[in-house]
Symmetry: D2
Subunit: 267 residues, 4 copies
């Protein structure tokens, strides 16, 4: 059994009335079962949860009044299912793609795939299509781009990552997505909880590619094992999956989105 | 009664096998009733229709083999309902917006609202909030931007329209959307059939803004009366609402998306 | 007699060894005579002056070692000549331009005139050519762009100014230059000392256009009278005319580039 | 003796009156002596030659009236001097650079070095400074960027080359220049005649870096031996060194800028 315990603490200073949105809860998804979860706010707030029509991401929403410390505490126990081995998955002709994956072919705010068509074609066109080609894209990004905190910001596009040759996990994912789309392969972003050695706890972003067999996760940073990621949200790009979106005036004080592999109970 | 007849002909040369998507049918929408509609393809194709989860836009999809002339013919009779007078509608605080309109606050591929915050704030912040302010935005765009065929292309962003100070209907709409979002007002794109004097028949794009009272249409080109537009599709920006998307090799030969105000039957 | 007194104080904190370049001295130029000038550095430095081949701008250069306060004090008395009335100056066909003004037709780092061809042509092509047209450009910029400190930075291009619709004097000048070049009219940047009511003392940047009669100054900010500006430097754009360029680590503490109209001596 | 014969033919169709500028003649330069040269225009034109103050490039200028074929024929015999072996040249601290090379540290229209500081620093900062580091930059570009005709245009910046990972010789040179400037090393563009195996005759662009010992040529395309290039022009970037600049309406029909290593006469 693959059991994971999530223990996520977020603390903010609230300077002015703020409308707040969070995506921090484990997602409903065939590959993971939420065995239990618990959500606490201090001071308490009147919150509600809603999900969006396209990705069924879970959004928490509430208003905050000014206070020195506002704390969110989310805990959950999640069981991961073994996923199918994708290594023999083929790429699909666009004509054979299911209707609902077509939007993941289009350029989006952060994944300016239209600018990368020449580069992607020159670099990857001659490779045999299929899972191994996506692995080659993942590897190419890993070799070309340096992981560096602070090297990018919330306006960094996939093409910018190629200029600066550095980024954080979301930038690696955006570049992977943009290259795939430039080649006519549906791709999208996934964020979740992942344990990464030697890094402070943080949400992790990776990318997911649609092959003949279904969506397959890839991590061009090579920091985490995609099979051990507890999915929070799925989206066209980072626009859809921010863990926090706010309209007001707040400051992040602490972010501790921890995940542990649970002890296996002796049977 | 406000009855409209749509008669839309599209003709293409198909150079190679192509997977084709159309959004040309009248949308299901409270303000319009489709009394009848008819769709013809020549040569005939095996098509299917699907709708997306977020906007319920109607997508036609099929494969095409090479041929000299492929013709689509869509006809429909649509009745428009009188819409409520929005002139007293207020703007809503973000905290009071319904959950489902929040995505329309975010920057998107074509509406780079994050770049327009300074300009939008300086220009429109001091005006009284509400319908009249959106009308002022619409008017400002109309005065600043010149309508000029061929002045933009499929990669033109809202910020580019401010540089070149010219565009076509989708550019006017993108700019309107981006300014609204920069001000914290939900806005999105609507395309449809509209009769425009002295213009060759074409699909028309305008923008829609969420106020206290619902979504309200605006047309910064002032070419069409929004109340006489038959809606085809609604989207975050032009990414969602292209009338044709194709993967293959085709050439547009003829585009005649005509709309007529139907004769009122004597009663 | 038009006599001006310049009294310019600059103070820096020097954090690490720095190679420093200044352009703060009045330029040799037919329209102004330097009656006297004096330059003081505290602590003293070994400096030299050189001029560049194209614009004969005066560059001061020296090394600085760390210190809490490094002070530059430049004083001068400069007499301005009356300039010819340019109001009847015509524009020249490019074929009739002198060889040495041709570089001022080209796009440059800050004046991305190639992006503004469509806008400039649409907006100004139908106006009668000559001085009055440049005045119309100056006026158009004045009406369209808001003067706002802090609205731009050292990477702001002319096209960015059209997006944000705000800038400081160098942005107004860049936009004027870029529009002129987009129309095939040589234009360049001039910086100098100018007295501006209600503003803290600062260097001022304006633009200069080549007409049939010579170079003519324009100020799209309308803050200063070009005829009362004491020229420091002339350049393709801001790249050439920075008052301070440094390679090291310094902080500006005080900037007081003052100019006074000298008392006329009774004769 | 290193003797080269240049035989350059350019043919244009002239559609409308055009003011024409050429930079096609061998440059005056310590490393090359022009033994003889000849210039022919058909139909004949009244031309003059001028040189710019900064680079002493030779500019031909004249007017053209409409004609079906306008032909320029330039021939020259040029002797190259052996250049000093630069392999032990060091990089200079900026404080020790001569005044006249300082402009080659600044970002310019095509060399947007300010965007490349992060990348350049991360990639090359830890290498020992000097000739070998510039060779490493040259090699890195050669490995990263694909030479591909048509992959770029006259608006392609150094940062665009990093996005598209392809370019032609001027793009390779712009990238080399931009990386050097981002590291605080003066760099500029040189164009000239070079024989390149398996390529149609064309002008060649490479870059030149200032080290302790003087300017040294580098060719990141590795197509030509810099020591066998006959220099035509030197500049900040491609803005300064276009072989043809025109104001009017012309079409290039033929471009044959040939260069041959001359037979050595038996003595």
């Amino acid at each position: 059994m693959n059991l994971y315990t999530i223990d996520c603490v977020l603390q903010y200073k609230i300077n002015a009335s703020t409308n707040m949105l969070f995506q921090i809860q484990a997602a409903p998804h065939p590959e993971q079962s939420i065995l239990n979860e618990h959500l606490e706010f201090h001071p308490s707030v009147t919150w509600h949860e809603f999900s969006d029509a396209t990705h069924q991401n879970r959004h928490l929403r509430f208003n905050l009044e000014p206070c020195d410390v506002f704390k969110v505490h989310y805990t959950a126990t999640v069981q991961k299912q073994a996923c199918i081995d994708p290594s023999q998955f083929k790429e699909l002709e666009i004509a054979n793609l299911p209707d609902e994956v077509l939007p993941y072919l289009l350029a989006s705010r952060y994944c300016d795939s239209e600018k990368l068509v020449g580069m992607a074609t020159r670099t990857f066109e001659d490779m045999p299509k299929g899972y191994a080609r996506i692995k080659a894209i993942e590897q190419w990004i890993y070799m070309q781009i340096q992981y560096e905190s602070g090297s990018s910001d919330e306006n960094t596009l996939a093409s910018d990552v190629l200029i600066q040759r550095a980024g954080v996990c979301r930038d690696f994912a955006h570049l992977g997505i943009a290259i795939c789309r430039a080649l006519g392969i549906p791709a999208r972003m996934v964020v979740g909880y992942a344990h990464i050695e030697n890094f402070a706890p943080d949400f992790h972003a990776i990318f997911e590619v649609y092959l003949d067999g279904g969506w397959v996760l890839f991590d061009a940073t090579r920091l985490a094992n995609p099979n051990a990621l507890i999915r929070i949200a799925t989206g066209i790009d980072a626009s859809d999956v921010a863990f926090a979106t706010y309209y007001g005036d707040i400051e992040l004080i602490e972010m501790q989105p921890k995940i542990f592999k649970a002890e296996q109970s002796a049977a």
